[in-house]
Symmetry: C2
Subunit: 256 residues, 2 copies
Amino acid sequence: PKRILAVANQKGGVGKTTTAVNLATALAAVGRRVLLIDLDPQANASTAFGLQRDPHRQGTYEILSGAAELADVLVETPVPQLMLVASSMHLAGAELELVGAQGREYKLHSALHNTSHAYDYALIDCPPSLGLLTLNALVASDGVVVPLQCEFLALEGLSNLVQTIDNVKRSFNPALAMEGIVLTMYDRRNGLSEEVARDVRSHFGKRVYETMIPRNVRISESPSHGLPILLYDHRSTGAAAYMKLAGEVLKQELQG
Amino acid sequence: PKRILAVANQKGGVGKTTTAVNLATALAAVGRRVLLIDLDPQANASTAFGLQRDPHRQGTYEILSGAAELADVLVETPVPQLMLVASSMHLAGAELELVGAQGREYKLHSALHNTSHAYDYALIDCPPSLGLLTLNALVASDGVVVPLQCEFLALEGLSNLVQTIDNVKRSFNPALAMEGIVLTMYDRRNGLSEEVARDVRSHFGKRVYETMIPRNVRISESPSHGLPILLYDHRSTGAAAYMKLAGEVLKQELQG
Ligand SMILES: Nc1ncnc2c1ncn2[C@@H]1O[C@H](COP(=O)(O)OP(=O)(O)OP(=O)(O)O)[C@@H](O)[C@H]1O
Ligand SMILES: Nc1ncnc2c1ncn2[C@@H]1O[C@H](COP(=O)(O)OP(=O)(O)OP(=O)(O)O)[C@@H](O)[C@H]1O
Ligand SMILES: [Mg+2]
Ligand SMILES: [Mg+2]
């Protein structure tokens, strides 16, 4: 793929899956060819597209372990131009299995870099930890999109994540950069939300997307219908926000 | 400790830390002697009691690695009768370090079971994964309190967690049982919340606490003041809910 973005944050429940699924859909909606990789053993991105758990389906685990090529495990989604590599329970064992492996940090990198450039974007949905799975995503990526919930506890972990990105850039992947921080579940009626947003913008300036994703119940309903928000309710504030975010990501690409 | 409870769920952001901190406080408020163990490298439970990160403070990592005894690493909290074992960044490395260790699943078990019975309860705040840290918590515990956010994606992972508890019970810790599921961030204006609550109660019946923790902004504000909700705003709906939950946990103990 021409551009690989890891959607990562070790803090749990901040909107990583929601952002990976809906940003991927919004980029596909404006004509980009997109690949979404579910790197979380919870398989929430796979569920969000209506995939039932299937122990026989090959996916992310098989491309990490080398048992299959990327081209063999692609799954269609309800979104034209968007293909998915599904997660499975086997992925939970991958962290332990990879520990002793040769070049353990580069497994995803080699799986993704051997493919043709049939894709403009690949987005990787990461689990809520900084273990070997997320490390593989950071080593394989050009940029990191960091969803940040507008909550105090979510702010706490940001410096760890920034530090980890710097470490990976220095030791494994000099091309890696922070693509941007996206504020999620923003609720303008809630003073804390406002305070966190102000705090993050004062620290990170331009690295924070202008687009904020509002708290919107339609977003949390959409995975139960197996559809991204753009297909579930394209008139919702959530859908509009992810389209606007895609616009900012594309603008950034043009500016290089 | 007489009773050890792991607060666990691999799904991120469901209220594990909030439940561990506030249930521990509520139990201490009614006279129990309580120990709270922060087993998450994010150290959110430590932050919630106002602890700044301190690379020289010993805590959970040192008791897991055997470098210190439990009695040497206890930290006072603003709550009488509640002591804390703090997390640190070193804990992030513990998962990888434990992989090759002898009896790797029993490290926390032996650290907790060598202490005197000075405590009535020990609560363990787990990270959002089913790796070696959470496994250590399950092996060391008598029961598992499972916070469950009233959201569709949170429901998806529940069967994995129940399966993991059964596996640990069979292979490592026959005493382990599901103490109870507590519904968190419940919002009665949101149909999805209601639907998830009904679904969980129909599947798990009595194993779901009657008490539901409402979505309450005072709860999400309290960690930024380094106080549990009972001390930050004892009149809030959040504080009342955690007191009620403590009552149910104590009632369950009496029934044995
Ligand atoms: N803007 C939003 N408005 C309302 N609900 C949201 C929003 N974004 C995400 N959610 C809901 O919040 C929950 C957490 O989001 P999500 O699962 O995407 O986070 P995550 O960071 O991927 O979690 P994990 O750490 O477990 O991987 C989900 O139930 C999701 O549907
Ligand atoms: N009942 C509630 N009402 C409002 N906000 C809440 C409630 N419970 C938790 N929160 C907030 O939601 C966020 C997630 O909660 P918390 O951090 O306790 O979850 P967690 O499961 O421990 O997350 P992680 O998976 O990262 O460890 C926090 O910002 C917290 O303050
Ligand atoms: Mg996720
Ligand atoms: Mg937590």
